[in-house]
C-alpha cells in the first residue's frame, strides 16, 4: 500500500469516526436534553425542527460517505442549514439559559458543521466554529443580561464546544498535508525511477554500439594510430570510407523519421557525396519499415560500393509489401558482396565493364 493510499484510508476512518461521534452527540446527548426540558422551550416544535435539520445534514454525510463522495457544491447549503438550525434553536430558547443543559444545540451543531467541513482547509472549520460561537454569544448578550457566573459558564462550555471539534479538524488537516507530501514524494520516486530506467537503456544502447564499433572501427583507428596501417593505402582509405558511412548510419538509426531506410541511405550517400562522388538517390513504391538489423544488411551493400565509387553512383529503392530492393550502381573496382546477417535478405553483385551493380533484396514475409 503506497503512502497516499494509506493516508486516504486514514482520512476515511477519521470521517467515519467524526460522523459517529457527531450522531451520538446530536441524537444521544442533544435529544436527551431536548426531551427532558421539552416544556421549557418557546415553542418545543422549533427545537425539533432544528434537530431534524441537523439530522438531515448527518444523513446526507452518511449517504455521501457510503457512495465515496464529498459535499462539493452542496457544502455551502449544508453549512447554512447547520447555522440556520442553530439560530432557530436559540430563537426558541428561554432567556438566561445559554450554554446550559437546555441549550442542547450549543454542543451539537458544532460537531455537525465539522463533519461537513472535515476535508476542507483548517480555516473553514475555524470560521464555522467562530460563527457558531458568535450565535450563542449573541443570544447570551442580548437575551440573558448575563451575570458573571453565566459568562464563566459560557466560557467553560466554549472550551469543549470549540476545542474538541477543533482538535479533530487539526488532525484532518495534518493528515491532508501528509497526504500531499506523500503524493509529491511518490511522484518524485516515479520520476527518478523513470530517469534511471532511461539512463540504463541509453547505457545499454551505448554498450551495444561500442560493441559494434569495436569489431571494425576501433582496430582501424588503432592501426592508424600505431602506424601499422598506411593512410595512403587505397585499401585503408576504403576501409575508412566504409567505417565513416557505418558510423553515419549508426547515428541516423536513432532518428525518428517516417522512412528510416531512405533516411539512413541518405546518410550513407552523403559520405560518398562529400568525397566527390555524384550520388543520385531515387525511390519508387511503398514498403513496410524493415527492422534495424535488416536495414543494416540492405544499406551495407550500398555503403560498401559507395566507398570505392570513383565518380558517380545511383542508389535506388524499389519496394512493395512483399519485396524491398535496394540497389547501388557505381563506377568502382571489384567489390565483394557483404554477407547479410538477417534471414530474408539476399545480396547479388553484378560487374559489367567498369560498372558494379549490387542489389540487396528483403522479403518481409519470409
Amino acid at each position: 500500500m503506497t503512502a497516499d493510499l494509506f493516508e486516504a484510508a486514514l482520512r476515511h476512518g477519521l470521517r467515519i469516526a467524526t460522523l459517529l461521534a457527531a450522531s451520538a452527540i446530536v441524537f444521544g446527548l442533544g435529544m436527551a436534553n431536548l426531551l427532558r426540558h421539552m416544556d421549557r422551550y418557546e415553542p418545543a416544535l422549533a427545537q425539533f425542527g432544528a434537530m431534524a435539520a441537523l439530522g438531515a445534514v448527518l444523513a446526507g454525510e452518511a449517504a455521501l460517505l457510503v457512495r465515496g463522495r464529498t459535499w462539493r457544491r452542496l457544502r455551502g447549503l449544508a453549512i447554512t442549514v447547520v447555522l440556520g438550525a442553530s439560530a432557530l434553536s436559540y430563537a426558541a430558547l428561554p432567556d438566561r439559559r445559554t450554554s446550559t443543559e437546555i441549550d442542547w444545540v450549543f454542543g451539537a451543531a458544532n460537531w455537525v458543521g465539522v463533519v461537513v467541513l472535515l476535508d476542507r482547509p483548517l480555516r473553514s472549520c475555524v470560521a464555522f466554529l467562530v460563527a457558531h460561537e458568535l450565535t450563542a454569544l449573541l443570544h447570551l448578550l442580548v437575551f440573558d443580561h448575563p451575570t458573571q457566573q453565566a459568562l464563566a459558564r459560557f466560557a467553560t462550555g466554549s472550551v469543549s464546544v470549540v476545542g474538541f471539534p477543533l482538535c479533530v479538524a487539526v488532525m484532518a488537516a495534518i493528515l491532508h498535508r501528509l497526504g500531499a507530501v506523500a503524493a509529491a514524494s511518490h511522484l518524485e520516486i516515479e520520476r527518478v525511477r523513470a530517469s534511471e530506467a532511461g539512463t540504463a537503456e541509453a547505457h545499454r544502447r551505448r554498450l551495444r554500439r561500442y560493441g559494434e564499433l569495436s569489431v571494425a572501427t576501433i582496430p582501424l583507428l588503432e592501426g592508424l594510430a600505431d602506424g601499422s596501417l598506411d593512410p595512403g593505402d587505397p585499401r585503408v582509405q576504403r576501409r575508412c570510407a566504409i567505417e565513416a558511412a557505418r558510423m553515419r548510419r549508426l547515428f541516423a538509426e536513432a532518428d525518428s523519421v517516417a522512412d528510416p531506410l531512405l533516411h539512413e541511405l541518405r546518410h550513407c550517400a552523403d559520405v560518398a557525396d562529400r568525397k566527390g562522388v555524384a550520388v543520385e538517390l531515387d525511390a519508387r513504391g511503398q514498403w513496410p519499415v524493415p527492422p534495424v538489423a535488416v536495414r543494416r544488411d540492405l544499406t551495407e551493400a550500398v555503403l560498401t560500393v559507395l566507398a570505392t565509387a570513383a565518380s558517380r553512383a545511383r542508389v535506388t529503392v524499389v519496394g512493395d509489401a512483399d519485396l524491398v530492393s535496394v540497389s547501388v550502381v557505381a563506377d568502382c573496382d571489384e567489390v565483394t558482396a557483404p554477407n547479410p546477417a538477417s534471414t530474408g535478405v539476399r545480396v547479388e553483385a553484378l560487374r559489367h565493364d567498369d560498372m558494379v551493380w549490387m542489389e540487396a533484396r528483403w522479403q518481409p514475409t519470409s
Binding site: D282, R284, G285, V318, S325, S327, V329, D353, M355
Partner: protein, 225 residues
C-alpha cells in the same frame, strides 16, 4: 526525314541557363542537333523557325505551380513531337504527360545522356523512356493502367535502378536490343489506353506492323498483374 538531315529542336524554357545548357549538349552531340531557343515565348514554337523544328522541348511549368497540360495537348494535337522537360519528379505528372501524347518525359535531374537520345528518338516519331519515367510506370497503381507482363516489369525496374541498358541486359541475360523492345512494348501499351493522340496512334500502328506486339496482347486490359 532522311537520316543524314540535321535534326532541329526548339526549346521553351524560361530559365536561360537551362536553354544554354541544352544548346551546348545539342551542339556537342554527334551528329549535332540544331537548337532554337524560344525562351519563355510559346508563340515562337508556333511561328517562325520554331514552327518548323522537328522536336519541341517543353518546360511544363513556365508559370510556377501551374503545369501547362493544355499547351502540351495543343502541340500534340497538331502533330508536334514533344519532349517534356520538367523539374517535377512526381510520377502522376509524368504519366499524364505520356498519356497526353508526349514522346518523352525527362526530369531536369536527367542530363544529356538521356536528353540527346530522346531528341533523336522523338525526331523519328519514337518514344524515349527515361529511368524516371520507368520508375513512374512500375509505381503506377491507377485503375486504368495497362496490363504489363512480368518480364516487362522486370526490365522497367532494372532500367529504373541501373540507368544503363547494358547493365539491364547483363543482369537479365538478354540482348541490349531486347531491353529496348520490352520498354517500347510498355510505351505501346500505355499509348493504347486513355486519350488518343496522333503520336500515340502512330506508335501503336507501327508496333503492330513491326510485330513488336500483337492485337491480342494490346487488348489485355485487366489491371491486375
Amino acid at each position: 526525314m532522311a537520316a543524314d538531315e540535321l535534326i532541329t529542336a526548339v526549346i521553351v524554357d524560361d530559365h536561360a541557363a537551362i536553354a544554354a545548357g541544352v544548346g551546348s549538349w545539342c551542339a556537342h552531340a554527334v551528329p549535332p542537333i540544331g537548337l532554337i531557343d524560344a525562351g519563355d515565348r510559346l508563340a515562337d514554337v508556333w511561328t517562325g523557325p520554331g514552327a518548323a523544328a522537328d522536336v519541341v522541348i517543353f518546360d511544363l511549368e513556365l508559370v510556377p505551380g501551374l503545369p501547362n497540360f493544355g499547351e502540351l495537348r495543343r502541340l500534340v494535337d497538331i502533330g508536334r513531337r514533344v519532349i517534356v522537360y520538367s523539374q517535377h519528379t512526381e510520377d502522376a505528372i509524368a504519366i499524364k504527360c505520356v498519356d497526353l501524347g508526349a514522346l518523352a518525359y525527362l526530369t531536369k535531374r536527367e542530363g544529356p545522356e538521356h536528353l540527346v537520345p530522346a531528341i533523336r528518338a522523338a525526331a523519328r516519331g519514337e518514344p524515349y523512356t527515361t529511368p524516371s519515367l520507368s520508375g513512374a510506370f512500375i509505381a503506377d497503381t491507377a485503375a486504368d493502367r495497362p496490363r504489363l507482363s512480368q518480364r516487362e516489369v522486370e526490365v522497367l525496374r532494372a532500367w529504373f535502378v541501373s540507368s544503363s541498358k547494358e547493365l539491364v541486359a547483363a543482369k537479365l541475360n538478354i540482348a541490349a536490343k531486347t531491353v529496348d523492345t520490352y520498354i517500347t512494348r510498355v510505351r505501346v501499351k500505355y499509348a493504347n489506353v486513355g486519350r488518343s493522340a496522333r503520336t500515340k496512334s502512330e506508335l501503336v500502328s507501327r508496333a503492330l506492323d513491326d510485330g513488336l506486339i500483337t492485337l491480342a496482347e494490346l487488348n489485355q486490359t485487366e489491371t491486375s498483374l
